[in-house]
């Protein structure tokens, strides 16, 4: 029958406590770097999908649809095992010596979520009144400048609630990096379990860490939303579930 004596102290005993902290740091590092990539790609691809040029729209759509419709896990394996072989040998060698798994995880996560951000940003741009764009053009701005200076800045503020959701998804999805040897939070909980046979405690700790990270991030984003709100535009409420 089931007998289990809890021993929560494994979570802070050396070196396990330190492993957990390192895991948190690694998760935050991958997520932050991937987030920057995703935001840039998302803005570019999202904007591309709203311009008049059909070719540009198609390129944007192709990127979004292809990367969005394939599991992130497959992308992780692809970027780690498959893709680097096409780089010049010197670059491969350099990457291999400088944390190729970490880089592959950031690239996989960034490009995948870039496609998902693009959808959010496209919706944001489309919700900016057409008049804004026309007004921008009539003041002598080019299309690219109108997007860069007017449309995208407004859109980014409008999309904070769905953008927060996507950001949280990105943070949670970074856990898949464990499959390619990146020592993030989930990896460390597995590692602690392997060393101590304390699966129960380790998984509970991992679960709580993610919950806290998500709550904090959602809280920060809702503050950001209030801080950058454009006066006169309706701001959607965003609690922790926003």
């Amino acid at each position: 029958m089931f007998r289990y004596d809890f021993d929560w102290s494994v979570l802070w005993q050396p070196p396990y406590g330190e492993w957990l902290l390192q895991g948190i740091l690694t998760t935050l590092e991958i997520s932050a770097l991937a987030w920057v990539i995703a935001l840039v790609l998302g803005c570019v691809a999202g904007a591309m999908r709203t311009v008049p040029s059909a070719v540009t729209r198609t390129i944007g759509a192709a990127y979004v649809e292809f990367f969005k419709n394939v599991p992130l896990l497959v992308w992780m394996f692809f970027w780690y095992f498959g893709a680097p072989q096409f780089l010049p040998l010197a670059v491969q060698d350099w990457l291999n010596r400088h944390g190729v798994a970490f880089v592959a995880a950031v690239v996989a996560l960034g490009i995948y979520h870039g496609a998902r951000f693009a959808e959010v940003i496209r919706a944001g741009i489309q919700s900016v009144p057409q008049g804004q764009f026309e007004a921008a053009l009539s003041t002598g701005l080019g299309v690219a400048e109108a997007y860069r200076l007017i449309l995208i800045p407004i859109a980014l503020r409008l999309i904070i609630p769905p953008g927060t959701n996507e950001t949280l998804n990105l943070l949670k999805n970074s856990s898949l990096a464990l499959t390619i040897s990146v020592a993030e939070i989930t990896f460390q909980t597995r590692q602690i379990e392997a060393y101590t046979a304390r699966g129960f405690e380790a998984i509970t700790a991992g679960t709580l860490i993610y919950l806290v990270l998500c709550l904090v991030l959602a809280g920060v984003m809702s503050r950001v939303e209030k801080a950058v709100a454009i006066p006169g535009l309706i701001v959607r409420g965003s609690g922790p579930e926003g």
Binding site: F77, K172, C214
Partner: protein, 240 residues
């Protein structure tokens, strides 16, 4: 490094039959897991949504806690709960397929529940009041008035979630379930052609996921058109 596409050709039956469909010695199959998960998660999701909207705290509080908990953790963690945590805690044996099914249903039902809840809330309050005024009970109001309309409103987000769920099933490979991803890993283990193999299964996943979202978009457009005609008719009859 030259591409070698024959590796795909040589292993096509295994990848498709075993990995995608689950026909073969290993059970498994991406579709064999994804389809039942979609059905079950939607059924559970309806109850989650009703519980979330319930006036009774007995239903509302646990449902809310469940949704918030699930939405705050990665799917991989939930898979580990059911794979290791629950069997230890409850002292039960769970076959790999059931672990995957239960984990995915538990995870996805929270998201689907939220979509359904938003759909129900999008139905104007007046509809409910009108239904109640015609002496319909809660259940009939839900069944005949609210849920059909809600379903139409939430269909796009629902299908988007189904696509996500379909892709999420690739995580079952982590616990040894022989899905498309695991099949590709197994083949790669012998052939060492990661670029070709992972790109190939990426295309297979894409065909299904994109196909699903395309059909959803078409449905959405048709329904939007239907609603416009409906609105016009309502406007005309109101005007008359």
């Amino acid at each position: 490094m030259a591409l070698d596409l024959s590796v795909i050709w040589r292993n096509l039956p295994f990848l498709i039959e075993q990995g995608l469909l689950g026909i073969g010695a290993f059970g498994g199959g991406t579709l064999a897991l994804a389809v039942p998960t979609i059905v079950l998660a939607t059924i559970v999701g309806v109850f989650v949504a009703l519980a979330r909207l319930s006036r009774l705290a007995v239903f509302r509080v646990p449902a809310t806690a469940y949704v918030q908990l699930i939405r705050g953790v990665p799917l991989v963690m939930v898979v580990f709960w059911f794979w290791i945590f629950i069997p230890i805690a409850a002292g039960v044996t769970i076959p790999t397929y059931s672990v995957a099914l239960v984990a995915f249903v538990t995870f996805e039902a929270a998201y689907i529940g939220e979509i359904i809840r938003a759909g129900i809330q999008s139905v104007p309050r007046g509809q409910v009041e009108a239904a109640r005024a015609t002496a319909l009970g809660y259940r009939d109001t839900m069944r005949f008035v609210v849920l059909p309309q809600a379903f139409r409103n939430m269909l796009p987000s629902l299908v988007t979630q189904f696509v996500i769920l379909f892709k999420d099933t690739s995580l079952a490979s982590i616990i040894g379930y022989m899905d498309l991803t695991k099949a590709a890993q197994t083949v790669n283990n012998r052939e060492f052609r990661p670029f070709e193999l992972y790109l190939f299964i990426a295309v297979v996943y894409f065909v299904f996921a994109y196909g699903l979202s395309l059909s959803a978009r078409r449905l959405e457009r048709r329904m939007a058109a239907g609603r416009r005609t409906l609105a016009t008719a309502a406007f005309r009859s109101a005007g008359a």
